[in-house]
């Protein structure tokens, strides 16, 4: 069991080290793709196990919970690891055509896989302090990727990204210290029971808010998102695609985990705050995007507005709401990563991502136009694409709790998303190129073209599959939501598994 859980973390680390050792030869990039394939296989294996058993747990070094570090996968964690592996593979293939030899020498592939290891670790850990450590692994790798190459824009964006993320990390760390002081444990399953026994529940709410702020920065929620649009348009397209797809979602995942498993004592307050923060996140994100004229900046602001939908699902805190949040999370990773990849290829063909200076993509490369339409319309929520079902679930959930205004905002933001996507379409694809350049596929070499198109097509196909046959995915999200809302099975899986040795601890937790 422990192997199934640790392989999705272990493989990227090994791949990263191997890629680093081979960074000066051509083999490095193939090691990277091979490692990504192996990770995908491991995460599919884990997914199959979780589907069969509900929860898979493992204790590192056989130290029994709650004393050792626990790895645990429920449905949400397993699907996040799987989607990480899928995105990881797509972007690793894309990187074949984009990452220059100079950046490979500097260790691009190694950093990339360390990033994936950090992301998977954050999804699979069952220990709060361990979550902090994985956040750091992820963070330091992302710092490296963000400024790799060292152009002026990258350094400028990097400063903002690093500064705000470090502050949020310290907030998280201080929260961990306080929660340990109150309960004496850091095992998440153990905390789930122990937190209710704390006398001063007001203090628990304060700590809950600290965690909300810390993860809110990571997830780029209103009003903590300023680092994201300042930095995501500066690095390589592969880097911004994997950041856009995965990094903010780790924050959302951590919010979902903490505010369903541990901080459920004062739902009336914490989730109400989350509800309004989500609504404002959706609005400010989409309005910010309307003001931008850079392909990637528009997409960056849309990450923010879409994050709002996911946290909204959590804030509604009904089975349907959480289910919508989980569905949204999965759908959005695929769509968003794909849009950044398309922006990358489009930018390469047309000579930039500033919408005022490019154009003519539809006329010269109609296939890219068609491929853009799929994730763009999915993002805006057109049926029958995946985004429609995601938005449908969230809006329905907010109507069910009679939050009319919130539902209205959710629908309005969908409409405004169409506006931004239309702007990209009109500027980058429809209008003729201002410099009379014809951005057809012939402008890049064949291998580069296919390395770019393969992941774009693959992710677009996934979007269509989820859109046309949403039933199994919706059922899956429903099961995941049930698990999240009733953490007793999670607690039992972590603590009960080692009942003989830690019977007392398990009893205490109940």
């Amino acid at each position: 069991m422990i192997w199934a859980l640790s392989l999705p973390i272990f493989i990227p680390f090994v791949t990263g080290i191997a890629a680093f050792l081979m960074r000066s030869s051509d083999a490095g990039k193939w090691v990277s793709v091979g490692g990504a394939v192996a990770s995908l296989a491991a995460s599919i294996f884990l997914m199959a196990m979780v589907l069969a058993e509900g929860h898979v747990t493992g204790q590192l070094g056989t130290w029994v919970a709650p004393f050792g570090i626990t790895l645990v996968a429920d449905l949400l964690a397993a699907v996040m690891v799987l989607i990480t592996a899928i995105t990881g593979l797509a972007v690793a293939i894309y990187a074949l055509g984009e990452v220059s030899e100079r950046l490979e020498r500097l260790g691009y592939h190694a950093l990339y896989h360390f990033l994936l290891a950090g992301v998977c670790g954050a999804f699979l850990t069952g220990d709060l302090f361990n979550l902090y450590v994985w956040f750091e692994v992820m963070l330091i790798a992302s710092f490296g990727l963000l400024v790799l190459g060292g152009s002026r824009e990258q350094i400028d964006g990097g400063i903002k990204y690093v500064a705000l993320n470090l502050v949020s990390t310290i907030m998280f760390l201080a929260g961990i210290g306080l929660i340990y002081g109150m309960t004496g444990t850091l095992n998440m399953a153990d905390l789930s029971g122990a937190i209710a026994e704390v006398e001063n529940q007001g203090l628990v709410t304060v700590v809950a808010m600290m965690f909300m702020v810390a993860f809110g920065v990571k997830a780029a929620m209103f009003p903590l998102f300023f680092w994201l649009p300042a930095s995501y348009h500066t690095p390589l397209f592969s880097v911004s695609a994997v950041f856009a797809g995965l990094l903010t979602k780790v924050g959302v995942y951590a919010l979902m985990r903490m505010f369903t498993l541990i901080f459920t004592g004062d739902v009336g307050f914490t989730h109400e705050v989350l509800l309004w923060a989500s609504a404002l996140t959706m609005l400010t994100g989409v309005l910010g995007a309307a003001a931008q004229t850079d392909f990637r900046k528009i997409l960056s602001f849309h990450i923010i507005s879409q994050i709002g939908y996911m946290t909204l699902g959590l804030a509604i805190f009904t089975p349907l709401g959480i289910m919508g949040g989980v569905f949204y999370l999965v759908h959005h990773i695929i769509v968003k990563a794909n849009l950044f990849l398309i922006a990358g290829l489009g930018g390469r063909l047309a000579g930039g991502t500033d919408l005022n200076r490019i154009g003519g993509l539809y006329k010269s490369s109609p296939m890219l136009g068609a491929l853009f339409i799929i994730p763009a319309f999915s993002l805006a929520g057109f049926p029958p694409l995946s985004g429609f079902w995601a938005k449908y679930l969230i809006v329905k959930a907010s109507l069910e709790i009679e939050a009319w205004f919130i539902a209205f905002i959710a629908l309005l933001v969908g409409l405004l998303t169409v506006f931004s996507m239309t702007k990209i379409w009109a500027e980058a694809f429809w209008k003729p190129h201002p410099d009379k350049v014809e951005p057809h596929f012939g402008r890049v070499t064949k291998p580069v073209l296919w390395a770019s198109l393969t992941p774009i097509i693959g992710l677009a196909v996934l979007t269509i599959i989820i859109g046309l046959g949403p039933q199994p995915f919706v059922e899956f999200a429903e099961r995941a939501a049930e698990q999240l809302l009733d953490p007793s099975a999670y607690v039992e899986a972590v603590l009960g598994a080692s009942e003989d040795a830690t019977g007392d601890a398990a009893e205490e937790a109940q």
Binding site: F129, G177, G181, K297
Partner: protein
């Protein structure tokens, strides 16, 4: 002892927030150093200050004799210090590099990555 440490944490926090709001990246960095030490002290105090022996178990025994100090917060703080050191080293190099290539340490002047119409 706990109240004293709590006050120390408060003072460190205040100083670091003041430094971080100044807009100069070097001061921000100093603020970051202070705040990360404040967070470490929070963990340390959260684990209760116990005037005890080190948590060592003598050969042949199952549990340590008498009252011993809580080793876990110390382990946590140690990890946090190591990670914090790495991050600060990176941040320092980044700020230095920013000074070299952007020619400024003022956060307000760092507008290279922003859209052009905002540039003054």
């Amino acid at each position: 002892m706990e109240p004293v440490l709590a006050i120390v944490v408060g003072v460190l926090m205040t100083a670091s927030v003041y430094l971080m709001l100044s807009g100069n990246m070097l001061r921000f960095l100093f603020g970051l150093i202070l705040i990360s030490n404040a967070a470490n002290l929070v963990i340390f105090t959260g684990g209760r200050l116990t005037p005890g022996a080190p948590a060592l178990i003598p050969t042949g025994a199952d549990s340590p004799p008498g009252e011993v100090a809580n080793a876990l917060p110390q382990a946590l703080v140690l990890t946090a210090i190591v990670i914090g050191f790495g991050l600060l080293a990176f941040a320092l190099v980044l700020v230095f590099r920013a000074y070299q290539s952007l020619g400024t340490l003022e956060a307000d002047d760092m507008r290279v990555a922003e859209p052009e119409e905002d540039r003054k």
